[in-house]
Symmetry: C2
Subunit: 269 residues, 2 copies
C-alpha cells in the first residue's frame, strides 16, 4: 500500500513523556492525525541496557507500523541515542525523525560561543549521541553533558518548584554553568516540565532548547519536502496507545499534554 498525505504521523516514547512532543506537533500541524504509543508497561528506558532498549524500540515501532504511518517520530531521547537504526530498519522505507537529531540541530543554530550543554538520562549521556550529532553539524562546538537521573521522578511527582528539586538541579547544572555554555539542550522529554526551575538556575543568558518544539519544526519541514502535509482544514484529535494504564495515568497525561486525556487504547507488547 502506498503512503499518502492522509496517513497518520506515528510517535512513540518509553512512557508518556513524549506527549510533550505530541502537544508541540499537534499545535504546529493540527490537521495531521497523530498516533502515539507510550510503553508505560516497561518505562523507564533510560536506566536499562542498550540491548533491552534496542529490543523495546523494535516492539514500539512495530506497534505503530500497524497504522501505516507516513513518518515515525522517536520522541524518546534514549531510543534516539541508542536504537535509531533499529527504528529505521523496522520502519522499512518510512522517514524517521529522532528527537535527538532535531534538538541537536536547533542547539547548533542557537549557540553563539560554540559551547552547548546537554542534560539527559544516564543512558542518553553515556551514549555520547548528542555530542556526535552536534559535531556532525559543526565540529568546532564543544559539548558538555550531565546526566540528571532524578529529574524524571521529580517531574512526575510534581516537584517543579520544590526547594529539594532546586537543590538537586543546582548540583546537576553547576558544572555546565561553570563551563560557560550559552545553550542548554533538554535531552529528555520529561525535562520541559522542569523548564522554569532549570531556567531559574541557569539564568537568562543561557538559551534552553526544548526538543519537542524542535521536532515540530522539523516534522513540518520533512513532510513538506515529501509533499506529505495534510491539506484538510479539520482538526484531528491525537490517538493514544499505551501498554499499561497505571494509577497515576490521568494526572500524568494532563501534566504532559496540558489538557484532558484523549481517547486511550491499551495494546500488548
Amino acid at each position: 500500500m502506498s503512503i499518502t498525505a492522509a496517513n497518520p504521523i506515528g510517535i512513540f516514547d518509553s512512557g508518556i513523556g513524549g506527549l510533550t512532543v505530541v502537544k508541540a506537533v499537534h499545535a504546529s500541524l493540527p490537521a495531521e492525525q497523530i498516533i502515539y504509543f507510550g510503553d508505560t508497561a516497561r518505562v523507564p528506558y533510560g536506566s536499562k541496557s542498550q540491548f533491552m532498549i534496542r529490543k523495546y524500540a523494535q516492539d514500539d515501532t512495530a506497534v505503530l507500523m500497524k497504522y501505516q504511518p507516513k513518518m515515525i517520530i522517536v520522541a524518546c531521547n534514549t531510543v534516539s541515542a541508542l536504537a535509531f537504526d533499529v527504528v529505521e530498519e523496522t520502519g522499512k522505507n518510512i522517514p524517521v525523525l529522532g528527537v535527538l537529531e532535531a534538538g541537536a540541530e536547533l542547539a547548533v543554530r542557537y549557540t553563539r560561543n560554540k559551547r552547548i550543554g546537554v542534560i539527559g538520562t544516564r543512558a542518553t549521556v553515556a551514549s555520547n549521541a548528542y555530542p556526535c550529532a552536534i559535531n556532525r553539524l559543526d565540529p568546532d562546538i564543544e559539548v558538555c553533558s550531565s546526566p540528571c537521573p532524578l529529574f524524571v521522578p521529580l517531574a512526575e511527582e510534581g516537584y517543579t518548584s520544590h526547594p529539594a528539586a532546586e537543590m538537586i538541579a543546582e548540583e546537576y547544572l553547576r558544572q555546565l554553568i561553570d563551563h560557560g555554555i550559552d545553550t542548554l539542550v533538554l535531552g529528555c522529554t520529561h525535562y520541559p516540565i522542569l523548564k522554569r526551575l532549570i531556567g531559574k538556575i541557569i539564568g537568562p543568558d543561557i538559551s534552553i532548547v526544548d526538543s519537542a518544539e524542535a521536532v515540530a519544526r522539523k516534522t513540518r519541514e520533512m513532510l513538506g519536502e515529501q509533499d506529505l502535509l495534510n491539506s484538510t482544514e479539520s482538526t484531528m484529535k491525537p490517538h493514544l496507545l499505551v501498554s499499561d494504564l497505571p494509577q497515576k495515568f490521568k494526572s500524568l497525561c494532563e501534566l504532559f499534554l496540558g489538557r484532558e486525556v484523549p481517547d486511550v487504547e491499551l495494546v500488548e507488547v
Copy 2:
C-alpha cells in the same frame, strides 16, 4: 519430583531491591542454596497497574519454578500486596512467603500503643494490603500509611544523607509522626538503604521494621516446621538471575548486597 531439603529457596523482586532480602536470608541460613530473580528489564512495578503487576508476578514465579524451589519468597512489596495469590497459583503446592506478611507480623509484635505507620510505593499503599494484614492479626491496631514515591530513585542514586533527601523524607514522614505511631514498617525493599535518614527524622522512640529481617526469621520458621531446613555445613553462594543488565548494575548490587556481586545469569521474560 518430590521436594527435599536440598532444593533451593527461590526469591524474586521487581528489580534488585530484593537483594536486601537475599542478604538477610543468607546470613540467617548460610547452608541454603538461594536462587534470586530480579526483573530488571521491567522495573519498577510500584508505579504500574495491578493488571500488569499480576502478569509480571506470574512470569517471575515461572522463572523460579524451573529451579524446583522448596519455597518461594516474594521480596517485592508491590507483588506481595497485589498478586500474592498469582504466585501461590503459579507455584502450585510450594509454600510462598510474602515480605508484606512477614513485616506485618513483626510490626504487630513490636507495637505497644497499637499505632503502626507503613511507608511504601504508591501501588503498595493504595492496595491497603498492610492495614489488612495487620488487622487480621490484631483488629485493634490503627494503621497510618504514606506513599514515598521518591525514596526508590533517591536510594538508587545514593542520596542517603543528602539535605534534599532529608527535606523530602521530612515531608513524607511528618504526618505519620504527628499521628503518634510507635512502629514504622519499611514497606519497600529499597527503603532499608535510607534507614539511617528515616531514623534521624522519626527519632529513637519509633521502632523501624525492616521486612528483610522479618522474612529471614519467618523463612527459618516455615522450613523448620516442614522439616525442609538444609543440614549441610557448607556455605552456599546465592545464584542471581536478572532480565536485564543495566549500566548501573554492579554498583546497585553492591549497594543492596553490601559485597561483591555473585554469579549473574541473564534470563528472558
